[in-house]
Every structure is written in C-alpha cells, then in structure tokens.
C-alpha cells in the first residue's frame, strides 16, 4: 500500500466528520483527536517494532511486554476503583495470564521465540486480558450485590467467605468468558477476523492465515478464562472482613474510616 493510498484513507474520516456536522452529532473533536492519536501511536509503534525486531535480545522483549501489561492494568483498574489495591490485583492477573500464554506457546514451540512473534501475540493476549479484567471488575460488585442475600444465608450456615461467594464468582467468570466463546462459534460466518484479513492482504495463503487465526482464537479463550478466574479470586477477599462478614456496599475499604 503506497503512502498516497494511506493518506487517501482519510477520506473515511472526512466523510464521518461531514456526517457529524450535518446531523449535529458533535463527534468532530473526538474524531480528530482519535484520528491523530491512532496515526501517531501506530506510526511510533511501527518504528519501535522495527528497532525491537532487530535487537532480538530477551531483555528488550520482556521490557516491551511489561510496558504493555502496565498500560493495560492501569486502564482496566479504573473499572474497579472501589476495590483497594485494584491496580496490583489486575497487574498480577494480566501478568499471570501472559506468562501462562507464553509458556504454552513457546514451551510447545507453537511459535518461535523471536520478537516478530512474541510481541504482536503478547499484544493480543494482554489486550484481551485487559478487556476481560475490566468486564469482570464491573460485574463482580454488581453480582455480589444481587446475590447478597444468598451470600448472607450461606455465611450464616457456617460457610467461609470463599464458599459463600463461589456461586457468584462462577457466574461472573462465566460472564467474562462467554463473549469469546460466542465468537468461536460465529467466526468466519459473520466476519473475517482482522488478523487473518491482514495476513491475506499481505500475501499469505488463506490456509496459513487460518492456522494463525485459530491459534489466536484458541489462546484468547484460555486467556479470558485464566484472567477472569485469577482476578476474581484476588478481588473477592476485599469485599469481606477477616471474620467472614460481607461488607456493606461501597464499604470495601476499612469501614471504621468511612
């Protein structure tokens, strides 16, 4: 794709801005900012990748992946700002997820240990974990509120906090994993995934492109499940006191200080 052709893709943005002006959607400002950010960020990342791919040194790959994880954790943690130390919990969950994914892919030699493979695939893994983490944090507190009476009954019968909350955790983890499982069922019928499309356009045979796409989709399924489960188990203790009492809503911090 030539530079001219790339610049011409701005026609799409121009069209959207015109629509926005015509229908008074008020999107122009956000659109402009978004367009500029996307162009600048991606161009920069392109150069960074160029450099990193040349380096081929483990410390640089690890560093780059760590930056991805930090940004993702910071972003997802905003969804659970009532939970104490939520950033560290999300960070731990996303890190555990990425480590699991890389152990499998590199350990079984599904992908070669070079930056060209490790970095883009890590980006997908971490990005997906980020979305799952945000979703889970959003839902966990709501689900616990909805299941409050059941949790109280279970506790009153002598259940530990963990035993009492388990049905709610299951429900929440399931909710965090269902979108990707649904995606497994419809992929190819409704849309061709972005990565596969990219590979095909870049000249890779559809057969090979499909294999890569399957790897991504299957690994992202495990990523969603692992990230959701790890984060759920790290998060729920903050909603209980050490004496297995369910804290009042909005009092997941120390109630004495409120």
């Amino acid at each position: 794709m030539s530079i001219t052709a790339t610049v011409l893709t701005l026609v799409f943005i121009g069209l959207t801005i015109l629509l926005s002006l015509w229908q008074r959607l008020g999107l122009e400002r956000d659109l402009l900012i978004g367009t500029i950010r996307a162009a600048v960020q991606l161009t920069l990342v392109g150069y960074v990748l160029l450099v990193v791919f040349e380096l081929r040194d483990w410390p640089y790959i690890v560093l780059m992946v760590m930056v991805m994880i930090l940004v993702a954790a910071q972003n997802a943690a905003r969804r659970g700002n009532q939970i104490p130390q939520v950033f560290w919990k999300v960070l731990a969950a996303i890190t555990a997820t990425e480590v699991m994914a890389m152990l499998v892919m590199l350990g079984l030699e599904i992908i070669p240990p070079t930056p060209q493979y490790v970095i883009p695939i890590s980006g997908m893994v971490v990005g997906n974990a980020m979305i799952v983490a945000g979703l889970l944090l959003n839902r966990l507190q709501a689900e616990i509120e909805a299941g409050r009476q059941q949790i109280m009954v279970a506790l009153s019968l002598g259940a530990t906090a963990r035993q009492a909350v388990l049905p709610v955790l299951r429900k929440t983890v399931r909710a965090g994993t269902i979108p990707i499982i649904d995606n497994l069922k419809t992929v190819g019928l409704v849309q061709l995934p972005g990565m596969m499309t990219g590979l095909i356009i870049a000249g890779v045979s559809p057969e090979v492109a499909v294999r890569w796409q399957l790897l991504i989709m299957f690994s992202l399924t495990a990523v969603s499940a692992v990230c959701a489960i790890v984060l759920a188990f790290l998060t729920y203790p903050a909603l209980f006191t050490p004496a297995h009492q369910l804290r009042e809503p909005g009092r997941s911090r120390d109630p004495a200080k409120s």
Partner: protein, 247 residues
C-alpha cells in the same frame, strides 16, 4: 447457664443519605433454654440485633458474650453453626430442597449423618419435595425449608426472624410446637422476632420490646404484655391489640 449477655450495643446504619443508630445502647441477657420473643415497631432494630448475635455484623460499640466468652473470640464458623439464623426473608440457595437442607452439614463433611427427608417432615413438609428446585416452592414452603436448613446444623441457639410470617395459624402452631419440643428435650434456646402477640403468649417465655434501637421493656411475656411500664411499649402493644392481634 448464661447463654448470651449483651452489653451496651450500638450499631449505626447508613440509608444512602444519613447515618442513624439502628441500635442505641441495648443491654440484655439470655439464659440457656429460654425462649425470648422480640417485639417492636417496624425499624426498631430487631433484625439488626439478630445479625449481631450470629456475627454477620459486628456492633460499633458494646460487647456480646456467648457462653461467657466474647463473641469475637469464638471461631466465627463454629459460632454460626451453634447459633443458627432464620432470616426474615426466606432466601433459597440454588439447587434442590435436599441440597439446601444439606448445605450446612456438607460444609463440614457431615452430610451422611443427616436425613433430609426426616428434617423436612419435622417442619411439616412432604419428603417428596426433597428433589424439587428450592426456588420453585411457595413462600410458606420456602420458610419451612429455611428452618429445616438451620436445624440440620443441630444448633444450640436459634435466631428466628418472623419464622412463621408466611404460614397460616395452624401451620404456625405446628412450628411453635416443634421448637417448644426441642426446647424441652434438648434445651434449645430461641430468640424469636414476631409481630404476633398471640404467638408470643403461646410461646410463654420472656418478651423484649424494642423501640428505636432501645430495649424499653423486658420480662416474662405475660407480665410484659399485660402490664407494660414504658410508655413506648404501652403505645406499641396497644396499637397491636387494637388491630385484634392478641388474646
């Protein structure tokens, strides 16, 4: 034997706008084998008090002892098995009636010792209900399952929050007889919240009258209901009697 002693209990609540006291310096004691009926207007703190005794919540101030030992010193999981709680709303756990009844025993790997059908019959339910989904039962049936579920833990004390509110007169009497029988045979202690003064008289133990988080009257049920001393207690009992709910 002193079962519970409650010393100057305070508990604040937050209703979304402001903080207020649901319990204000409540002190009392309960002896083993007592049946204490707790009455008082809506919002007077009856349910809040029961939550503290089962340690689902802690008081902001004050001290509770159970069998002479500070409640906080007990292993909370053991305590909750010994001091069973029946909530004001009967909430079913997911699963069948049998799974609900066996929930407590299963937590400690004792499910084989219990016979869920026998427990269901005790609370007046047909044992054929055991395999039904608990959430499909009627309100009254769920209330009985909630009682059977607590009895399966074989508690020494029962905290009952209007345990017969969804039952008719006859059914309510059945539950009363059952628990009175357990009081006689095993020395079961009950703290029994009720709005039904006739029920309090039938249970014929002690009665506490709560008003705005305070214990305004306590003593043998017949005396408290017939000659209340405190104006708030008199006012409350008169309003109940006018509605023809006792004697």
């Amino acid at each position: 034997m002193m079962m519970f002693s409650l010393d100057d209990l305070w508990k604040s609540r937050f209703d979304g706008k402001e903080c207020f006291n649901a319990l204000e310096g409540l002190s009392a004691s309960v002896h083993g084998g007592d049946i204490v009926t707790i009455v008082g207007p809506s919002g007077s703190g009856k349910s809040t008090l029961l939550l503290l005794l089962n340690r689902l919540e802690d008081p902001d101030r004050g001290r509770i002892t159970y069998l002479g030992r500070d409640l906080r010193k007990w292993n909370v999981l053991d305590l909750r098995r010994q001091v069973g709680m029946v909530f004001q709303q009967s909430v079913m756990l997911s699963g069948t009636v049998r799974e609900n009844v066996l929930y407590g025993p299963r937590l400690v790997g004792r499910e084989c010792d219990e016979d869920p059908e026998a427990l269901l019959r005790q609370v007046g339910l047909d044992s054929s209900l055991a395999n039904r989904d608990a959430r499909d039962l009627s309100g009254g049936q769920q209330q009985r399952v909630a009682l059977a579920r607590v009895l399966a833990n074989d508690p020494a004390v029962l905290l009952l929050d209007e345990p017969t509110s969804a039952l008719d007169q006859n059914a309510a009497r059945g539950i009363e007889e059952l628990l009175l029988g357990m009081q006689r045979e095993k020395g079961l202690t009950c703290l029994w919240v009720t709005h039904d003064l006739a029920q309090a008289l039938r249970l014929d133990g002690e009665t506490w009258v709560l008003d705005c988080g305070r214990l305004v009257e306590a003593g043998p049920t017949v005396e408290v209901l017939n000659q209340p001393q405190h104006p708030a207690a008199r006012e409350y009992l008169r309003s109940r009697l006018e509605r023809g709910e006792a004697r």
